[in-house]
């Protein structure tokens, strides 16, 4: 890998280690995510997939390691990074509307003290259209189904208009309509040349949905183009003997 390539990589991780209490959850992770591709992070429960996203984004402390985004630090590249957390991390009974949540994606651009106005509402509405939720814009968020909640989080990230997206299990427990809507958004982002890193749990669909694969189990087992990486040998090393290779 030449130096110029390194500088343009959307995400590069070196020697990342994360420790909760005594137990290492991530150990010496090296990662290079190629630009303009849909990239999946896959591994068994407790493999540290979500923790990897959080550590990369500075949401959990790192014991060691370095992370670059487009060759820059997190602070410098923050505006180019979008994040879709797991939807069960928030209280959906919070008194707010769908449109309000999507507008939160614009708070970073708005900066301190400025309130969202008409322009922000229109931008948020446009993002809701991309996930087919424009008709529910004024609903209280508790009235949404799980799949709709997931799409609201997706729309909020779209509002950030980032170049690199991190999504934590967006396909977990959603209906077929939502799964289709998320896929459309992913392909839309890819066609705009954006990079998407998705924590995924379903081996059946991973080969079909993504271009690039990282197999994780505390350490990186394998990482590379899908067809080279998705091998039964790699899956066995990630999951143990009981892995199903899908298809």
């Amino acid at each position: 890998m030449t130096l110029t390539q390194t500088a343009t990589l959307p995400l590069e991780v070196r020697d990342l280690t994360v420790v909760y209490r005594e137990q290492p959850v991530l150990w010496d992770v090296d990662l290079a995510i190629p630009p303009g591709q849909l990239s999946a992070i896959v591994g068994p429960n407790g493999a540290g997939k979500s923790t990897l996203l959080k550590a990369v984004l500075g949401l959990v402390p790192r014991a060691s390691g370095q992370v670059w985004f487009f060759g820059q630090s997190l602070r410098e590249a923050r505006a180019r990074i979008g994040y879709v957390p797991q939807r069960n991390t928030v209280d959906w009974d919070f008194p707010t509307s769908v449109l309000d949540v999507v507008m939160m994606g614009l708070y970073g651009q708005l900066g301190w003290f400025r309130r969202p106005g008409k322009r922000e509402r229109e931008a948020a509405m446009h993002c809701l259209e991309q996930v087919s939720l424009q008709d529910l814009a004024h609903r209280q968020i508790a009235q949404l189904s799980g799949g709709q909640q997931q799409r609201v989080f997706l729309a909020r990230a779209l509002a950030q208009n980032a170049d690199l997206y991190f999504m934590d299990e967006p396909f977990a427990g959603v209906d077929a309509v939502t799964e289709e809507a998320i896929l459309q958004v992913l392909h839309g982002l890819k066609s705009q040349g954006k990079t998407v890193v998705v924590v995924h749990h379903d081996l059946e669909t991973v080969r079909e949905y993504f271009d690039h694969l990282t197999l994780l189990n505390v350490q990186v087992i394998a990482s590379g183009p899908m067809e080279e990486t998705f091998t039964s040998e790699n899956l066995r090393r990630t999951y143990g003997a009981k892995a199903r290779t899908g298809g």
């Binding site: 923050r78 957390p85 919070f94 309000d100």
Partner: protein, 373 residues
Amino acid sequence: MLELFTDYTLRNVALGSALLGVVGGALGTFAMLRRQSLLGDVLAHAALPGICLAFLLTGAKAPLVLLVGGGLAGWLAAWLALAVLRHTRLPEDSALGVMLSSFFGFGIALLTFIQQRDNANQAGLDQYIFGQAATIVAADVANFALLAGMALALLGLFYKEFKLTTFDPGYAQSLGLPVRGLGTLLTSLVVLAVMVGLQTVGVVLMAAMLIAPAAAARQWTDRLGVMLALSALFGALAGVSGALISASRENLPTGPLVVLAVSAILLVSLFFAPQRGLVWDWARTRQNRKRVHLERLLLDALALLQHGPLTPQALAQHRRESLAAATRHLEALEAQGWVRPGPQGYRLTPAGQQKALELQMALRSQPSVFPSP
């Protein structure tokens, strides 16, 4: 002359209580949504040793000095409680409970110490336990306005950030917001609200002014901005009405009455608010049960009609119920416009046939919902 004096007092008491209601209601909204109502209780109780220490150190009884002392102690207790939560494995209720009782116990000890010193000046410090609104004078109201104004101005300034960090702190942090700093700021604003309440309702009852208006307001709306305004309004309403009621008779304490007023508002809201109110909830459940019951009857009637006449006797046998019950059920179906009596028993009306058809379709697509007869 006496009347004028009473009115002047009442005005100050009412104004002070209203200010407390507004600032307690507004900050309480965020405290409740962050599940930190109990933290408000901790820092209110923790104000007592601060008040006593401020008195011991300055020897003065200037209310503002004592309030600042109380506020600092409250802030320290909140900070300690959160630090304990963050760094130990103590459960939240234990950490908060321990912090509350240690600070309050220390406060009572200091109070006793002060009272045993031969110092005429000490009389009145114990008013901060349950509050003594009657002692509120115009200068106090000005202090309250200053504290409440500061808290509300900062709340307005950082409203958008507080909203996001309360709803989704992880995402807020990913946008680069200083989530922990904003949390500290919000806790500090709650401290300001507590300072406003120390003289009126005292350290023990202060938590009610943070929790009850917010909990009541949540019942009426699904919008944070509206909830904030309603909560402040409820707080103010309780403050003024508590002051007025306590002035209507002799020997009625203002603080506890303000708290009772806000509890009454909460009670009404819990029962009668549309959507979330218990009464409507109960009515909806009842109505749903009745609907499902009628639909079930209609399907039974349909099943009977496929083999013979639909009579009370047949229905009673089919459903294994008394003749009286079967007659009542057929009348209920008739009232619904689904069946009509005829010469050979009841028949389905067109509306009844339509409804039965819809039910059978639903039954086929979701067999688990309506077990087939």
